[in-house]
């Protein structure tokens, strides 16, 4: 059973308490008369319903995850060659999270915001890999004209609001985007992604409070990749079951296997029903893992090689979906062909990013302000 806030329709309420009998919290006395809504309290270890994907959908997820993986591998190479500078945070290992979530939302209507580990989110939003890679290499054709870099990329057209370099800032900003959805009554939902590290920042809780108080359509997505730089969740978080972090604000939480794209998609489908239905925010904790260092200059002293290898072998999201596809009768060579196609796309993006000119020096002074004063 999925532990999200129950919807008001009786069918679903009746269905809810099947395996566990979660305690019902009393509704807020202040709002109770206006909106009587039973709230299901998640008790941990709950399994999200697995999304029943068609073969075509599964192939699409596979291709998207593969694109992110190959793109990031290439970015790592370009960094090693000195073509990408500064900080570069790779998403390898976490592909199922963003793929499962982004395929469930409405790109024209909903908004997405994340932190600095943002390349995967942009690709999952359907943004052209060429201009993402060109931003990484600091070129004029980059999505931010070369002025943002790896951590600061945006595409309002795709509902992608960054790309933010300050840990936790995107949670307040995302709550503001949700505020705008509600204010404009446009039916949109904001997905605000942040990591296990950011989940200890003060402004995250300030935002939780206001999001629930004002019943904003926001999904707080904690990508728990186990390490905030080199500090493991256990060493930084008094409550390490991060899906419970919204409890004192009456925000229900869901814990999901973030290495399984179908589990992620299945969970978010349920969550979206509630958030779109006007029940206020829901918190999702996606348990995932990053294979690479925090950034390119990670000493990797805080975990063993064996630990990483173990996850790669046992839980890799791409391998897992590949096995499911093969089981469904998809041929190995078809998957190889997909891989080839993705590699070509990434190769072209890298060439584009390398060959594009650097921004004109006059760009130094543009876009500081919108207006002339």
């Amino acid at each position: 059973m999925l532990s999200v806030r129950q919807k008001k329709d009786p069918a679903r309420v009746a269905k809810a308490p099947r395996k566990t009998a979660p305690a019902k919290k009393p509704a807020s006395p202040k709002r109770a008369p206006a909106k009587p809504k039973p709230v299901v309290h998640s008790t941990g270890g709950l399994k999200a319903p697995i999304y029943k994907a068609t073969k075509e959908e599964m192939l699409d997820f596979y291709e998207q995850m593969l694109l992110i993986r190959r793109f990031e591998e290439k970015a790592g190479q370009l960094y090693g060659l000195g073509l990408i500078g500064g900080f570069c945070h790779l998403y390898i290992g976490q592909e199922a999270v963003v793929t499962g979530l982004q395929t469930a939302i409405n790109p024209g209507k909903d908004s997405v915001i994340t932190g600095y580990r943002d390349h995967g989110h942009m690709l999952a939003c359907g943004i052209d890999p060429n201009i993402v890679m060109a931003e990484l290499t600091g070129r004029a054709s980059g999505i931010s004209k070369g002025k943002g870099g790896s951590m600061h990329m945006f595409s309002v057209d795709h509902g992608f609001y960054g790309g933010h370099g300050i840990v936790g800032a995107q949670v307040s900003l995302g709550t503001g985007l949700a505020f705008a959805h509600k204010y404009k009554e446009d039916g949109g939902v904001c997905l605000a992604y942040f990591g296990d590290g950011a989940s200890n920042q003060g402004q995250v809780y300030e935002s939780f409070n206001m999001a629930e108080l004002w019943q904003l359509p926001v999904i707080f997505v904690i990508e728990n990749n186990q390490y905030a730089m080199g500090t493991s969740v256990n060493r930084s978080s008094a409550e390490d079951q991060l899906y419970r972090r919204g409890e004192s604000f009456r925000i229900p939480g869901v814990q999901v296997d973030g290495m399984d794209v179908l589990a992620v998609r299945g969970a978010v489908e349920e969550v979206l029903k509630d958030v779109r239905g006007g029940c206020g925010p829901v918190l999702m904790e996606l348990k995932t893992y990053r294979y690479r260092g925090h950034s390119m200059s990670d000493p990797a002293k805080y975990r063993s090689r064996d630990e990483v290898q173990d996850v790669r072998e046992k839980s890799d999201p791409i391998e897992r979906l590949k096995a499911a596809l093969l089981k469904k009768g998809v041929k190995e060579e078809d998957l190889k062909a997909l891989d080839k196609k993705v590699r070509k796309t990434v190769m072209e993006a890298a060439d584009f990013a390398e060959e594009s000119p650097e921004p004109d020096l006059s760009e130094l002074y543009t876009n500081v302000l919108v207006e002339q004063y």
Partner: protein, 471 residues
Amino acid sequence: MAIELKMPALSPTMEEGTLAKWFVKEGDAVTSGDILAEIETDKATMEFEAIDEGVITKILIAAGTDEVAVGTVIAEMAAEDEETDSAADEKPAESKGSKEPAESNEPEKADEPVPADEAKPEIMEEAPAAPISRADDPSVPDGTSMVSLSVREALRDAMAEEMRKDDTVFVMGEEVAEYQGAYKVTQGLLEEFGPKRVIDTPITEHGFAGIGAGAAMGGLKPIVEFMTFNFAMQAIDQIINSAAKTNYMSGGQMRCPVVFRGPNGAASRVGAQHSQNYGPWYASVPGLIVIAPYDAADAKGLLKAAIQTPDPVVFLENELLYGRSFDVPELDDYTLPIGKARIIREGSDVTIVSYSIGVGLALEAAGSLAGEGIEAEVIDLRTLRPLDTETVLNSLAKTNRMVVAEEGWPTCSISSEIIALCMERGFDDLDAPVTRVTNEDVPLPYAANLEKAALIDSARIIEAVKKVCYR
């Protein structure tokens, strides 16, 4: 002994108020905690409670009296056990007053003169400024009639006008709605625009500044009120890292049209943590507009401009100016240009550059200096970023001498910036070193005498002007 009941100060900056209502009459026995009277200021209405037990012997200020200075004796009472004696000591003729019907005495007492308030801090003394003309303002057509508005009302009107025009404009902050504004700047907005657009936030500056910035990124035009800018330090990351830099970092794709506004600078006797001028802090950040108006017309015209512009704005008000009234043009849409200073007083001998509350002190100084044969030109910068360097340099070229007056610290200040500007681009026009007059370089102390010593005043500006004029 008679106990004197004095007009209370309801806030650190209150100088006078209206004695709206008496809840007791002469002869009434009161105990500690009883409500004696209702006092009104332009900011708030408060109940005045008894602290001692006794009998009200005299009511000296009648209900409905305006402009009663803080500290004025408004009534007398006798402690219960020595009522007769004490009254006899003080005013023998009225020793039985407590037993007579109160009504008979009231009209007489109302006519008594109200003592002048002698405890007014220096900085709160308004300049006996020459009437400020807005004739130089190109946006004010000849013959426009003027209305006298307080800075507080002008700010409220600016917000209300923009909210009527544009549905995406809303106000959020602590106590902006039901309380009607901690300093009453948002008074009446909830009533007109409702709770969807006038939003009380919890006390979480960091969070709601981020929500405001995010809502702006999402296509709205938020006005985020900080109760004072001292509390915005909790939120400064969102102001600088999120609001100011997004347009640049996105290559011009993503806008953040938010206004962060609230009182800035020293108020009165509120100590170091509540008394700081953030003008120089924000003015150092590319990507922000920083506005710090002095008078009501500028407050209105520039706040409207701030709300309209697609760029993020830090709008620095001043609590001590909220209650002061100035002429404001009666125009339908009085919007002023951002980034333009104003020559508020013309002069030929020296230029005094200032902004916000410093402008009042500069005008006061200029008035005194005129009596000594020194004609000072006074420039109100109005916008601190982008700075109107041309107006400053043109005035320097005319007067060849300059003093910068700033209610704030000297180090890395707007004054420092103006001095650097004059060195770099006006050196040949200088007949004397540019001098700055600022607050002392210390956290603002609480004690009245120390606070007075730490804050800029007109006497120091006069002294500096004489120095650069070699007088």
